[in-house]
Symmetry: C2
Subunit: 357 residues, 2 copies
Amino acid sequence: MEGFPEKGIKMGNMTIKDIAKKCGVGVSTVSRAMNNHPDINPKTKELIMKTIEEFNYVPNNSARNLKRIQSKAIAVLVKGIGNTFFSDIVSGLERECQKKNYSCILQHVEEQEDELDIALHIIKEKKLQGLIFLGGSFSHPKEKMEQLEVPYVLSTIRTAGENCEQYAAVSVDDFKESYKMTEYLLQLGHERIAILTAPKEDESIGKLRLMGYAQALKDKKIPVQEELIGYMDAKKDRYSFQTGYKLTKELLKKTDFTALYATSDTLAIGACRALKEAGISVPDECSVAGFDGMEAGEFYIPSITTIRQPVEKIAKATAELLFDMIKGKEVPRQLVFEGELLERESTAFSSCHESVK
Amino acid sequence: MEGFPEKGIKMGNMTIKDIAKKCGVGVSTVSRAMNNHPDINPKTKELIMKTIEEFNYVPNNSARNLKRIQSKAIAVLVKGIGNTFFSDIVSGLERECQKKNYSCILQHVEEQEDELDIALHIIKEKKLQGLIFLGGSFSHPKEKMEQLEVPYVLSTIRTAGENCEQYAAVSVDDFKESYKMTEYLLQLGHERIAILTAPKEDESIGKLRLMGYAQALKDKKIPVQEELIGYMDAKKDRYSFQTGYKLTKELLKKTDFTALYATSDTLAIGACRALKEAGISVPDECSVAGFDGMEAGEFYIPSITTIRQPVEKIAKATAELLFDMIKGKEVPRQLVFEGELLERESTAFSSCHESVK
């Protein structure tokens, strides 16, 4: 391209040479400015960056550096995208990728699909540099995990199976947080505490949360009763309003309880709806607690008592850990964040324990 | 690679030749099978596809056909990702991309960012073949729109400005649907109907929905009163629970009304919360209506009367239109889907019109 069109005119084919010429500097100076190299005069850098912006110049890396372009992509595999909790995480991850100039490919995984098969496929197809797994029960044989040839991080999931120490994971301590919530309900005087939980075969956060519930009961010498456990159906259910509604209806048919602990806020909201339809008032006749800290629970009537997961921190840490692993600066490790118990309107003292009030 | 490892052993470097050898066919037959070519014996195809699956073979297109890999990506630019309505659309779009073997890059646009600037940037950076715009007010000068060098579709948004006929768009008729909802509230006997709507400067669906509301009132000879309109703040607000809560609180301070029409379900849920805190019962003392048909509104207490947008159809049609435009089979056009008014618990006859009951 010869000469410079006036400002405002379409500039599709501006090259780095044109920018250098315009600024009266060499190409390498422009390159240093763009790559945040410290060895450059700040004023020169400012001029270059302003010129780049003014002419809408985008470095055509693909032509001169194919490898870099190909590799600047990661994928987020989301199982259970219907769970709005994940959309908060996804938007956080996406923002972090943007900062680092990585493409973030969002890949939906159906409930009955194997996320690892999909991962193996798209890593090759899309030449990915890294992967983030979000949602799903995530229990895969070690041999299969080893086929993943790029770094990956489990975000807000954790496998309860063996070898879990080998995988990079960022999450809360699901066992501990679940114990905390159950203990809180026990302190309110509830003894018949129903739980809505993952399918029986789950080896992930669902199992950990159920274990936390069971441990808290045991520590209070209260036996865990199978009839109070509403398991999801592995084939049909997921952490959704609809599932919470359905499982609560089923529990109400066969037993009674003064509190219900739903292991996600979506399940809790569905449960409240089922209780309302059964003429049971929340929290007067039955307390309901959730997990996650979704915004919807805050505005629900009654607002939902929950364990808030620090979504922004988890998303940021997940992306940073992955990028550091991609650069070889970090090995897989487990980062655990603290959840926060938020007491809201959906829980109250058990009416069987009026004296406690 | 020589020979074939046994099944189950890691097969990272399987080539199309290996698959052909394994199946006792030529390479072109394998290619026909993979590309769904009609000219192939069904049994042979089955054998090939089974073998491909068994050995986890992924065609290494990037090596032999760089152009194709580079071009198999589109981006979805989402403004207002906090709006959970969009996560349903995104997951629908993502599924359609998967079917067509396109990468779907999710790009978040901050409320104060210009989606067109971002679009111009990433089209070049990521060598995109197409774009989908989701959310935002979307009013840009024609000259700037023309800089977009790839096909694009506006999904669930529509510009109310001039030249709108030039852009491909898939949505409901926001004016008509909004008219429908307002008319429904009028039929319930409400005359003082407040509305929560987009910022005054909006030129997109917000304006269209406000116009539908105003027209329905005018057709009933009811003057539109500025004091009943809760405008978002363009700098701070978005279609969220929090905004609905805030705007309703503000309206309650300065006026009264028997119905409130929130132009999204998220706004409606926030509004219900503010009304509850003000001691106003929904729907007995104030009806609340939303827009979108989000699942959260169905499980809310009270469940939210709304206009359901056919999310799955819109997502599918958006993706199909875009892919057809990419292939040159289709020119930009506007597809309009019918919304559905869902009467739920949050609306009732105006108590000022007992006789109507």
